[in-house]
Symmetry: C2
Subunit: 350 residues, 2 copies
């Protein structure tokens, strides 16, 4: 009962995305937030860029200047004192740490949901000290009553992996509403409506001592301040979501409750999608949960990429009718799409 | 310029606290929240209890029943299948983890600030699934305008190390306001007044990936929901607060700004106290910070206990006049008190 992959997958590859500056190479275009805006489907892609090596005597580093809103390459002579290249994921130089790739968000639009026009320039770039290592994995929630879109994103910096919130009405002007969850936290998705008068959100704190990377739920009156936290969904050792879980797309309101497509990783660090149904009036109550995954990494582009054996969604577009269109990052490298139905997902919960 | 220790220190020892059930031994009475209530000083002690070993053929475990509000001892025969004693800090049995000690909160009162009458029974015991491993390190904030006391505390369970908030008007009835920060977080202290109309709090998230155990500040409109998070105070490698920092007592409003006595740990995992001054109107702005500690573990009872070389405050009582009375946990075992002055602490900031 796997969702039906679009035969033209992947629909967006790194090479489809123009780099944001000279000397940069796009190495990933994945984990996109997705939303239907009128006749168009909007994706907000996570675009990961690395610095291209051109001069064998220098180490090129991708870096963000949040004050200028620029992503650029800095080249450091290989014989520089204090240059530490011992960890392939990072470069230490001048007391600073630089990651080997850095992500920003890029808008892509489509009329048919399959063929996307990717913007030539970055849409959202690091703009604060909480984003100096990049902005990742956006989720888009449309608040119909307020006619505004909320975007949660992972804000990565030397201060940790935190969660920022921004809002937009037009996908042109974006307003940051601050850091809503402090390190470590990620995989945050706001409900597309209030619950008994309160906004609600799924989030995924993770801890270095007790506890595990599980999904929690929190509530708010103003979207900026969150609390009344409840542990919602734990990992299930030995199963497809045995190591960690996290929210995927924002929950969908169905006649049977809030339906959340979430991700789980197993002991091999393969990522799957599954579903959980939450009580409509009290979403701290879990009504049902997929025993087996709704979607598994089976295609070549899902099995081989940057982080192998991974399907990871940040956005599901419902309709027409019973259809659910799952946009997902495949192997942390490309964007793909697959169609399923509400009924098929609900069946996974029985 | 060390604060003047009370010669009768420690003022509360484990043996001064009656255990909460048969078979339990109080192993720590420390890290107390402190507040002046009329003519009396109230301490809310963290009381750590361990199960006493009486039968050589069984392993006694201290455990909390949050539904009944009971702390009790369960004895497991040593030959039970599935009993795992390999880690001295915990016992694994029947798929559950039990810690070797479990904390609750206990009220103690004094008219002179030195001689305390400790309640015979626990004041606040685990009452939710976030507290099954205990309640630790309370901070008490008096909101004068609302005539109520707020108590933040570390809520420990298999779900992680989180932060709960409760309120009381009389230290008899306590009302829980929920989990305000998810794992990992601790060392949370609410400001004793609003800042430009918002409540403010210091908290200490810690992360397993990027970032370090630093102090952040957040804001709220209703005390339950928190956000607008800012990284406030980082650790300073090589110094007395080089490994981690965390809020101590709730901040004090002084003519020069909000004064916070915080703790820092150095590379030897010794704990010191220092001070930081925050802008009165915008406490995300650090005006000054102690170069040297305000207080160091130098006395025998501070150097030797459960966790050695530790002074750790959760409560400072100001007045009369310029006096600041620091209640502190010594070596994670006993409670002690030392007097200093506002001027002496301010001098440490120059």
């Amino acid at each position: 009962m796997e969702p039906v992959r679009y035969p033209g997958n992947p629909i967006i590859r790194p090479e489809d995305v123009p780099p944001s500056a000279d000397g940069l190479e796009v190495v990933g275009a994945f984990n996109a937030g997705a939303v239907q805006v009128g006749e168009e489907t909007f994706l907000l892609l996570r675009v990961a860029e690395a610095a291209r090596c051109t001069d064998p005597d220098t180490v090129p580093i991708v870096t963000a200047d949040p004050d200028r809103g620029e992503i650029r390459v800095v080249s450091i002579p290989k014989n520089s004192p204090g240059l530490d290249l011992s960890d392939p994921r990072q470069v230490i130089y001048g007391g600073h740490r630089y990651l080997s790739s850095l992500s920003h968000l890029r808008l892509a639009r489509s009329r048919d949901g399959y063929h996307f026009q990717v913007d030539a320039r970055p849409t959202i770039v690091p703009r604060s000290r909480y984003e100096t290592y990049g902005i990742e994995d956006p989720r888009i929630t449309y608040l119909a009553e307020e006619d505004r879109y909320l975007i949660t994103y992972t804000a990565v910096s030397n201060l940790g992996i935190a969660v920022g919130l921004m809002e937009t009405r037009d996908f042109v002007d974006f307003r940051r509403l601050g850091i809503i969850f402090t390190p470590d936290n990620k995989d945050v998705a706001v409900f597309p409506g209030t619950v008994q008068g309160h906004y609600a959100v799924l989030h995924r704190p993770s801890s270095s001592h007790l506890g595990s990377p599980d999904i929690w739920i929190a509530f708010s009156d103003n979207l900026q301040y969150w609390g009344n936290n409840h542990h919602l969904l734990g990992r299930r050792p030995g199963m497809w979501d045995g190591i960690r879980v996290g929210a995927g797309a924002p929950p969908l309101l169905t006649p049977e409750g809030w339906l959340e497509i979430y991700h789980g990783a197993n002991e091999d660090n393969s990522y799957f999608l599954g579903a959980v149904l939450l009580d409509r009036q009290d979403p701290t109550r879990v009504l049902a949960r997929s025993q087996d995954p709704v979607m598994s990494p089976i295609m070549g582009y899902e099995r081989t990429g940057f982080f192998n054996n991974t399907v990871f969604t940040c956005g599901v577009v419902p309709g027409p009718g019973e259809q659910l269109r799952i946009y997902y990052g495949a192997a942390d490298k490309v964007t793909a799409v697959a169609d399923t139905t509400l009924g098929a997902v609900m069946d996974s919960l029985r």
